[in-house]
Symmetry: C2
Subunit: 446 residues, 2 copies
């Protein structure tokens, strides 16, 4: 016990990890490149929300925050689908009661974790500290204090890199690639995203149903909206960078306005600041990052987005990172203070699962964008909901990934893909769910 | 014509490219990080040889060097396989006459190309110039003169990055990843390599048959040897870094000597400097690098290992790089001076082929290491040689990759893999080639 531990990065994963380590009696120093979000005006400024579900909640339960986080979330029990023509339709995420996902502000949750971390008295958080160099063999890191422009060197028994998709710790491993035989891949989508907003109504209420994740699926692009506590929705347009319907083809004011009016009429009417938001917010890229090994010398370990950045289409990025902490915690139970063993086991058991959620998230982009507008897919979802309502042993792929925190991602993926094939096959042969022989279907799904 | 062109990297690909560009009337500046290998003692020093085959020869023919290169090569007409037990066996690379591969010194070939490049009068080569920074939008590069430690800025109409597997030009693209949506992957093998030597005999002659590539296939590791003009062989041991038979387990003098004596008796007897070579030469890693896009702004283009580093097991790294130049040259014929079009077409047509040779090279590692010791595989090779001798339309996968410079790699791969499945199936059912019904086999291979 009472090892000295450094955590690089005070984002969601890093603060949860530090909090858990402190609860186990370790002394932790966190270095964060950014300013303290509790006191500084963060330039990004916008309330970016995320979908918190069971795997993430399990991580918060581990540190005793399951009740406090309730005040920060808005449950979303299903997808509200806004088709191009016709009425919107509501599809529940689960056929079971008590299963939903939660819209939560990234900043709000991060602040809760930072406050709880400091309360332990075992965690020192240093902001404005940029990691510059890593001496893997010496077990040392060099940082720059961005305020004073001075260099700081620190060392510890264990050093975690939870510094996100552009991780400096991972870049340090990249620089040592041949020696570490560091496998790395980054893969971008042709589609990017831009954040927009549906503000609260004049009376402060929500302008759309707020216990839902709204989707406007279109051919080749889509828009989604998640509710915020203040009555607003964060809206995200996902669209290719190039091509006919693309960011590069949508530049002039009248083009932008008529595009939204035509494609997303139910949202357009609720977006008074559309043009200003569209102009001031960047069109950002979306990519998947995989790498291996995650640990070096039994002393350094990548976790969270630093180890496995995923595209956002399964709403599992944060949940996977929190689950990382749960998995590590289980290994601390098992291997005590044998950190080389903990780190080496961690990467050995965890890699297959984060690879799975990365692949599932890429797949789900196509499902959300194209599938939710496909009659066969919608029928398949109805089959799934019926099965979930009538068969206590049936869980859809989505449910296994989202609600079954007891099932590793790679098992949810393998089993879910098998089920999907069977269900899509059934759905393609009927025009109405009443035509389906559920007994036959249930037998095939065993 | 007469565009100003910069080529970064004066290795095999860069000098062949510059030479061809000059022959087409362009003025070329080459920047090379290393010293001039014609005058400086290159620290590596060892004569590293490569296998030059038809795709590479096509590149040399393009610039009129097909005759001059003849003085630099030693033809290798087959593999000499040294099993653990029993007699060595010789397996020709092709059942046809006139098809062989060539052992050539990397340095010797590079010097030939450098000399020819300078003879054109249109190529300036600057050595000791390290590329530091690339301004893709401004079309400018910043280099450091390693002699004077001063910075040099240069610009051109077109800038090629032929600076090898650790390309500074590619690293510049990596630094701009989100904007360029730059896909990148690097993947290492668990196996590394160490170069050793079989020196010439006392009378200057070769100690082994020199018109062959020698292989000592073993379970999980292997050794190969290629002849050099001076009567020596460059020997390469491929072995895992970790595990029972591994570099990390082979450290003490007596362990090293008894390992070679036991595993490679026919080579061990010919390696008087084994221990000194083993100690002084590094154990190096082997990896595959893929990336995309290769071109930026119609002005910058990655070629050769900078764009596609492969493992050496198909002997195609240099050949693929020379073929890059041939493909680009064809597009210069087609699109004249429209460089944005040339660069964009180049990456669109070429990527699928360099991905194919990368995958084939990884596969061939297992074939060379394990297959050449497998009776079914050896029988399959005999079938192939018989087919090549009797059927003018049959080409093995190896032959298509190595000798059919008219077939793109990706076609050689697809067709070759189909053939291999059929042949291995046939070979697994017989104990002798005489039992095979060649008519039936030939029909299946159509």
């Amino acid at each position: 016990m009472d090892k000295k531990i450094i955590v690089i990065g005070a984002g969601l994963c890093g603060t949860l990890l530090a909090l858990r380590l402190a609860q186990r009696g370790h002394k932790v120093t966190i270095y964060e490149r950014r300013q303290d979000m509790r006191t500084a005006q963060i330039s990004a400024g916008r309330s970016i929300n995320l979908a918190l579900s069971d795997r993430g909640l399990k991580g918060l339960r581990l540190v005793g925050l399951e009740n406090q986080v309730n005040d920060l979330v808005i449950p979303m029990e299903g997808r509200m689908i806004h088709p191009m023509q016709g009425d919107k339709s509501y599809v529940r995420y689960s056929g079971r009661t008590g299963e939903w996902i939660n819209s939560v502000s990234r900043g709000g949750l991060n602040i809760l974790l930072l406050n709880e971390a400091e309360k332990t008295g075992l965690i020192d958080i240093h902001f404005n500290m940029e990691c510059q160099d890593i001496d893997f063999d010496g077990g040392k890191i060099t940082l720059t204090d961005l305020g004073t422009k001075t260099a700081v060197v620190d060392s510890a028994d264990v050093i975690f890199g939870t510094d996100g998709a552009n991780s400096a710790v991972r870049n340090g491993m990249m620089a040592q690639s041949p020696r570490l035989r560091f496998d790395f891949s980054q893969k971008y989508l042709d589609t990017g995203y831009k954040e927009l907003e549906i503000p609260p109504a004049e009376d402060g209420s929500f302008r759309l149903e707020h216990h839902a994740l709204h989707i406007w699926p279109r051919a080749g692009f889509m828009m989604i909206a998640l509710p915020n506590l203040d009555g607003s929705f964060t809206v995200t347009l996902f669209m290719p960078f190039e091509g006919e319907k693309s960011f590069s083809n949508l530049q002039k004011d009248d083009e932008i306005l008529s595009f939204f009016e035509e494609q997303f009429p139910t949202a357009y009417a609720q977006m008074p600041d559309l043009l200003a938001d569209y102009r001031s917010n960047p069109s950002s890229s979306l990519g998947t990052i995989k790498c291996y090994p995650w640990q070096v010398n039994g002393k350094f370990l990548l976790m969270g987005d630093a180890a496995h950045a995923v595209v956002p289409f399964y709403g599992q990025g944060m949940n996977a990172s929190f689950e990382d902490v749960v998995v590590l915690d289980g290994l601390m139970d098992e291997y005590g203070d044998n950190w080389p063993e903990i780190l080496s086991r961690y990467q050995a058991v965890r890699k297959v699962d984060t690879d799975a959620i990365a692949d599932l998230a890429q797949d789900n982009f196509y499902e959300m964008r194209d599938g939710t507008a496909d009659p066969v897919f919608l029928l398949k979802r109805k089959l799934e909901l019926h099965l979930e309502q009538t068969n206590p042993n049936y869980f859809s792929k989505y449910s296994m990934v989202t609600f079954r925190e007891d099932l590793p991602y790679h098992i949810a993926m393998t089993k879910g893909r098998q089920q999907d094939q069977i269900l899509m096959d059934f759905a393609s042969k009927v025009t109405d769910v009443n035509q389906v022989n559920y007994d036959e279907l249930s037998k095939m799904l065993v």
